[in-house]
């Protein structure tokens, strides 16, 4: 092995400043990854506190006020500090330039700036926690949010700032996909994760400014008394919900599209079969991104909006099911007659297929106005969006981490422990959230610190399994980190899963500081398992 191949982005250059001021997309990706995991643990801890409070009726562990803070911070941290920045910021940053054969993203300095803007926004969120929290719920609905004495201002300011980080990352990725592809890497030869990031970025730059506008309007009302949302000043509180959900519904797709991209990578590689319906998956990504802009009112069926718009929103909502169904069927058909190997990433991908499908189908329930009026603000909604966000996005994220871990760090984790943890996540997740569908159907409202005796049994099930879920995720992440200590190195030239995209075939593990020692030449498409045989190589 030459001296040059020993050099990788983790060990060259050295020193703390070389990390803090790095322009290397892989290092910036890692900084996103570790801050994301930190916030994930913080948000997860808050979730467990709530679950244990709900193990029995009454205020056993925390007061109503603390509970209100806990669910607000859990939602805000998970969404704005972990899910939205984590997958595009971490896996997207590390992989996008490698997948298109580029040395870096189109604007490396802007990329670093995005990370620091994100960190700066996160500081405001942290200040909120230290200063006593915020109790409005992560949606900051008016009129309560303009009257609440909790820290609405620092929290919304933090979100406002983090929004800019999202916009800049999106801009950077779009420019990278358009301008940095190696010759021959045409649109239909791009890995589907790149398509997913592209779709996500489009949503980020078109929807996120609306969030910023909303937060500014909220502040204008709070400080200058301009009547926009507050009826006492002549405003319209439902208008706030229109503004908020015009961003936040597309934001659901900012959260789930990269997860779709990860699954589109994991399934063909671990089934050793060409992806079924490449163009369908690529275009379904774009159509989900577009339809996502037309359905925001389905969050507002009980807000008092006009019946006419309820019908329109309900109708359009069903269209989202089409491209999503296209993806699910394509993934299943990809596995059909493939050589499916039950590796940890594949376990997560399979878990994703089950959990996301349940999440998506219950979304169809909630899209029906008549049913939604019954189920609105109950645990049915809580269970639905956790099946999408955690069962979908976070499970896919864990799958992606396991898939690209040997590539990013050049070390392999214990696969048996990873499989057991994945199973624990799957069972623990269903145990936690499936009872919540039943709770919701029976009328258990969300955001309450206590409940009627009749709900005790289902709530205690949910709490028990949430413990298993928490422990499983902890084991999964610790197992990954343990690989650093164990130093179970993979050969720099290895390709443990037999991937066909450029990051597996043309660069070392961990990658070279400049990604590729020479500009890669494209020899085959990203999923050409029917044309080329790629060996799985783990160690020499």
């Amino acid at each position: 092995m030459s001296e040059n191949t020993k050099q990788n982005y983790l060990n060259h250059p050295k020193g703390i400043m070389s990390w803090l001021l790095t322009l290397d997309h892989k290092r910036i990706g890692l900084m996103y990854l570790f801050s994301g995991i930190l916030f994930f643990f913080l948000g997860g801890l808050l979730a467990l506190v709530m679950r244990f409070e709900l193990a029995a009726p009454g205020n056993d562990i925390i007061s109503n006020e603390v509970y209100n803070n806990a669910y607000t911070l859990h939602g805000a941290i998970m969404i704005f500090l972990f899910i939205i920045p984590a997958i595009p910021g971490a896996l997207g940053n590390i992989l996008l330039p490698l997948m298109v054969g580029a040395k870096d993203v189109a604007f490396p300095r802007l990329n670093l700036a995005s990370f620091y803007i994100y960190s700066f926004g996160a500081l405001f969120a942290m200040y909120t926690i230290i200063n006593g929290g915020v109790d409005t719920g992560w949606t900051f609905y008016t009129p309560y949010s303009t009257q609440s004495t909790s820290n609405v201002v620092p929290m919304t300011l933090g979100i406002f700032i983090i929004g800019f980080s999202s916009i800049l990352t999106g801009l950077n990725f779009i420019a990278t996909v358009h301008k940095m592809r190696i010759p021959g890497l045409t649109w239909y030869k791009l890995p589907l994760f790149v398509w997913a990031l592209y779709g996500t970025s489009l949503v980020q730059i078109t929807a996120t400014p609306v969030l910023a506008i909303t937060m500014v309007l909220l502040m204008l009302e709070r400080f200058l008394g301009i009547g926009i949302f507050d009826p006492a000043l002549g405003g319209d509180p439902v208008l706030y919900q229109h503004f908020f959900w015009f961003y936040s519904h597309p934001a659901v797709y900012i959260m789930i599209l990269p997860a779709f991209g990860i699954i589109s990578e994991i399934i063909p590689v671990h089934s050793r079969k060409k992806i079924w319906g490449y163009k369908f998956i690529a275009y379904s990504t774009l159509s989900i991104a577009f339809i996502g802009f037309l359905v925001w009112g389905h969050h507002m069926f009980t807000s008092g909006q006009s019946v006419f718009s309820q019908i329109v929103f309900s109708f359009i909502t069903y269209f989202v099911g089409i491209p999503t169904g296209v993806k699910i069927f394509s993934w299943i058909l990809t596995m059909y007659k493939g050589q499916v190997s039950f590796t940890p990433p594949m376990f997560y991908a399979l878990a994703f297929l089950f959990l996301f499908t349940i999440g998506g189908l219950t979304g169809i329930f909630l899209g029906a106005v008549a049913l939604d009026i019954h189920l609105h603000d109950t645990y049915f909604v809580v269970a639905h969006f956790h099946y999408v966000m955690q069962g979908g996005t976070i499970v896919a994220f864990l799958g992606g981490l396991h898939h690209w871990w040997p590539k990013s760090f050049g070390v392999m984790y214990n696969q048996t422990i990873a499989n057991i943890a994945a199973l624990g996540v799957f069972i623990g997740f269903n145990g936690t959230f499936f009872p919540q569908f039943l709770l919701g159907l029976r009328g258990m409202p969300r955001r309450y610190a206590t409940y009627d005796e009749q709900f005790v049994e289902l709530h205690s099930y949910s709490t028990f399994w949430s413990g298993i879920l928490g422990i499983s995720i902890f084991i999964a992440v610790m197992n990954l980190f343990w690989s650093f200590i164990k130093k179970n190195k993979v050969d720099p030239g290895s390709n443990p899963w037999g991937g066909m995209t450029l990051e597996w075939t043309h660069t070392s593990s961990p990658p070279h500081p400049h990604n590729f020692e020479e500009e890669p030449v494209l020899q085959h498409g990203p999923y050409d398992y029917d044309k080329v045989i790629v060996e799985k190589t783990y160690k020499k």
Partner: protein, 139 residues
């Protein structure tokens, strides 16, 4: 878009004159009472002006068509937001139970505190007769 487009000075002057003219139009129409159509017209003129600036002063017309697409997309998304939101605000209370409460938000606002208070059926309510109200409920 390999070469840089050079716009003749005459074009710039024509656009500048159009912008000034359109500013005049904005002021002029503000004196005519068209009801709620006033705001639509003002926004339309403003959009035309902004588009002229983007197309000619900012060279969008001669630039890479992707940038034009982005610009048009932003207009489209804005249109989607405003149109669909107005499907709500324009038809609010369209179950039509009672004309008085058709726009409950604005009519109840302290800001528009000119109307007498009414209950949900439009019957006048005396502000100072809470006890009387309770009696009614009991019967």
């Amino acid at each position: 878009m390999s070469e840089h487009h050079i716009t003749p000075l005459k074009t710039y002057l024509i656009i500048a004159a159009s912008l000034l003219f359109l500013s005049g139009v904005t002021v002029w129409v503000s004196y005519i009472d068209l009801g709620s159509f006033n705001i639509v017209l003002a926004m339309f003129v403003a959009t035309v002006k902004a588009s002229l600036v983007a197309f000619f002063f900012m060279h969008l017309l001669w630039d890479d068509k992707k940038n034009l697409t982005m610009f048009l997309m932003s207009l489209m998304f804005f249109g989607i937001f405003v149109t669909i939101t107005m499907l709500d605000t324009g038809f609010r209370g369209d179950l039509g139970l009672n004309p008085e409460t058709k726009d409950p938000i604005n009519k109840r606002a302290a800001f528009y505190d000119t109307l007498p208070l009414t209950d949900t059926h439009g019957h006048p309510v005396d502000e100072h007769s809470d006890e009387h109200h309770e009696d009614k409920d009991h019967h």
